[in-house]
């Protein structure tokens, strides 16, 4: 496929691995921000092929992982109600709330549907005027514009039985929060390419300067990731800390003006809790006052939900790169992909799930083998 095959070329990859090895003189830790990048790194075995000195820390850019438990519990509550059609992207269905997930709600009679676009949910609302259709609007600057467009369309078309359960988050405040942590080990960032496709790069120079940290806007195919790493190492080795765009085929400095205008109309910046991390100021979006009627939290009273987070799960520290997944006492014991305590164990983008699979190869036993069969 054009723009995929070319960026998966093993010969060019080998050359980039060699370049990175030649540039590297000492240990460096860098964080790939986006879960899509983590997935690609694991999927292609990139981490195994880097010099030992380069440590990749999996960042908080997995929307499944950082959506707060309280929001998931609200989703479960709304989805359980009669006359509701609850729509979500697929991999949110398995994320555990306080005791159950959307799959269980579905099996208990809730009308939960996987859709591929929020506009599909809007169509469902049009086709089912006697039902309330709710879309679970989670994710970063990447998924926010289509969700904004859907709410905009709903208002324009006068569709009143549609609402959005919003838990959108923004990358730059998270980078700031990670760098402000006293235990922070991150020395460079591979910024999330598609986030910058929407937002551009203007938010990042201030962060690079404030924290003296290189930020390289990086894509998702193997060569994109290797090029991002190469540029980050080059900056680190030469003591520089600027914003570089290693994904110019998708990222313009100004981003997408149309998408940003839609975001500015429909959403407003707000403080937002991140699962396992806590509230990060100015790190999220909520519907602006013009669109407040489309906010599912307003439409359904879900304020009094009893939220119980696992007391042993340390996914927040994993998400900040403070510990490796296997350093959590629950890892692989109480917490596995089939019984996840935290969302980082759910999605294949989640650091714990990726690490679980990866370490299984290092420590195989026949008992394990039979347990998965």
């Amino acid at each position: 496929m054009k723009y995929l095959d070319e960026f998966n070329d093993p010969v060019l990859a080998r050359r980039l691995f060699d370049d990175i090895r030649a540039l590297t003189t000492r240990p460096w830790s860098m964080m790939e921000v986006c879960g899509g990048q983590t997935h690609s790194i694991i999927r292609h075995g990139i981490d195994q092929l880097l010099p030992d000195e380069i440590e990749l820390i999996h960042g908080p850019g997995c929307p499944v992982c950082v959506t707060p438990l309280e929001t998931i519990d609200k989703a479960l509550e709304i989805a359980s109600r009669p006359k509701v059609i609850f729509c979500s992207f697929g991999d949110m269905l398995r994320v555990p709330g306080s005791g159950r997930d959307l799959f269980k709600v579905k099996s208990q009679g809730g009308d939960v549907r996987v859709v591929y676009s929020p506009l599909d949910a809007l169509r469902l609302a049009q086709d089912n005027p006697d039902r309330q259709v709710v879309f679970f609007g989670i994710g970063f600057e990447t998924t926010a514009p289509p969700n904004a467009m859907t709410v905009y369309q709903a208002k324009k078309l006068g569709i009143t039985n549609f609402s959005l359960l919003v838990s959108h988050v923004r990358v730059p405040p998270a980078i700031d929060a990670i760098m402000n942590s006293p235990d922070c080990r991150v020395q460079a960032f591979l910024a999330a390419g598609h986030v910058c496709t929407v937002m551009g790069t203007a938010e990042y120079p201030v962060l690079a300067e404030r924290h003296k940290v290189p930020i390289v806007v990086t894509g998702f195919e193997p060569l994109d990731i290797l090029e991002g790493i190469r540029r980050a190492v080059r900056q680190l080795e030469t003591g520089r800390h600027v914003v570089e765009n290693a994904y110019p085929r998708a990222v313009q400095p100004e981003g997408s003006p149309a998408a940003r205008a839609m975001l500015a109309d429909v959403f407003e910046v707000t403080d937002r809790p991140w699962r396992g991390i806590g509230v990060i100021p100015q790190s999220g979006w909520r519907l602006s006052s013009r669109y407040r009627d489309y906010d599912a939290e307003h439409r359904f009273s879900v304020a009094d939900i009893d939220t119980r987070e696992s007391t042993v799960c340390r996914s927040g520290e994993v998400l900040q790169g403070l510990i490796k997944p296997h350093e959590c006492a629950a890892f692989g014991k109480q917490c596995t992909p089939r019984n996840p305590l935290g969302a980082t164990m759910v999605s294949s983008e989640g650091a714990c799930a990726a690490y679980y699979l990866y370490r299984r190869l290092q420590l195989p036993t026949t008992e394990e083998a039979s347990s998965v069969g």
Partner: protein
């Protein structure tokens, strides 16, 4: 994460399945969830911990695609499958084709020549008879193409809203030729793994119509009866160790099941996997992995290394196997696990899916 190669970190215990017995075996779910039908771990547990204990006998508990029955002087294969496909008609086939080919292929995966088929139709009140007739015609045509006799049948109707148009169950009986001993526990280190053609085609074809997704080109299901192909293969190499048609859960699930049953590791070569561009593109867009997407009309064969080239040649000489390739081999390392060499030279574990594969958000 380069230091993750260091294996000195803490270990972890495998999931604790002790104490899992009928009648309350499914500790995570007190109701059926969609994942129980997804062909992954949840499906396997439903079978192993609910149905097998309830029905238990030696013939069933082998858990091959088809049971192998002792009969006077002959060995029979016996298999059943239920079909709950939506939509009923899709590019390249219909539920009628699937209901025949699914069971016929399960028989073929025991090395058997399919002989007889039963059919149970569960119809939803209100479904148009013209629709039922189209399904029945497709069913009959598929049976004739597969050379199998529809010997017995049954029809039930459920109230409107209690079904999804047409459900079909089929059961089939076939004869296993002398000298053939194919079952899931027979894979051995050194075995070469052959796949008879492109993977992921059926799943993407179904998704494209079910979800109304357009991928630029129409992708047709690859549903087809495999009895002939298997007969040719066995004529050339009676000592095929394992056969499986990688339907629900895709090739990854099939390979994991066989690795676990035989206690061998499976080493895959990612570059060798036959993934058509249209399937690769659809999967890239949806965040799916073609290894986990359903197939019809395809088989995976585990064959002894010295017969691999001959088997490949026989498969390629048949219209249904002309794109056959070797995709990997069995190894003594990492028993029960499937590990793929990535195109870049790294490795990844190709795990058993839990339930259905879910499209990723980003």
């Amino acid at each position: 994460m380069a230091d993750a190669l260091d294996a000195t970190g803490p270990t972890y215990a495998p999931a604790d399945f002790s104490g899992w017995t009928c009648p309350a075996p499914l500790r995570d779910h007190d109701r059926v969830v969609m994942g129980h039908g997804g062909g992954g771990t949840l499906s396997a547990e439903l079978v192993e911990h609910l149905f097998v204990p309830a029905f238990g006998n030696d013939v069933l508990s082998e858990l091959g695609d088809s049971a192998r029955l002792p009969a006077s002087g002959e060995r029979l294969a016996f298999s059943t499958d239920s079909f709950v496909v939506r939509p009923l008609f899709f590019p390249g086939g219909s539920i009628g084709d699937l209901a025949v080919n699914g069971t016929v292929n399960d028989l073929a995966m025991a090395g058997a020549r399919p002989l007889f088929l039963s059919c149970g139709f569960i119809l939803e009140e209100g479904v148009e008879l013209a629709v039922v007739a189209r399904v029945a015609e497709a069913f009959g045509a598929a049976a004739r193409a597969a050379g199998v006799t529809v010997a017995t049948g049954d029809t039930k109707v459920v109230e409107a809203g209690h079904g999804d148009g047409v459900f079909i169950n089929t059961a089939g009986i076939g004869r296993i030729p002398d000298g053939v001993d194919i079952h899931p526990r027979r894979a051995r280190p050194g075995d070469v793994i052959l796949v008879s053609g492109a993977i992921g085609v059926h799943g993407v074809a179904i998704m494209s119509v079910r979800e109304g997704l357009e991928f630029g080109v129409e992708i047709e299901s690859d549903t087809a009866p495999l009895g002939d192909l298997v007969a040719n293969l066995l004529a050339a190499c009676p000592d095929v160790h394992v056969l499986r048609d990688p339907t629900r859960g895709g090739l990854a699930t099939t390979l994991n099941e066989i690795a676990a049953a035989s206690g061998v590791g499976v080493a895959l070569e990612e570059d060798a996997l036959p993934v058509p561009d249209a399937v690769a593109n659809a999967c890239a867009l949806l965040g799916l992995d073609p290894l986990y997407v359903a197939n019809e009309g395809k088989l995976a064969a585990f064959v002894p290394p010295d017969r691999a080239d001959a088997c490949l040649a026989v498969l390629r000489a048949h219209p249904l196997g002309k794109e056959a390739v070797a995709v990997g081999r069995c190894v003594p390392d990492h028993p029960g696990m499937v590990v793929s060499a990535t195109g870049l030279g790294g490795t990844r574990v190709v795990d058993m899916p839990l339930g259905e594969q879910l499209p990723r958000i980003c």
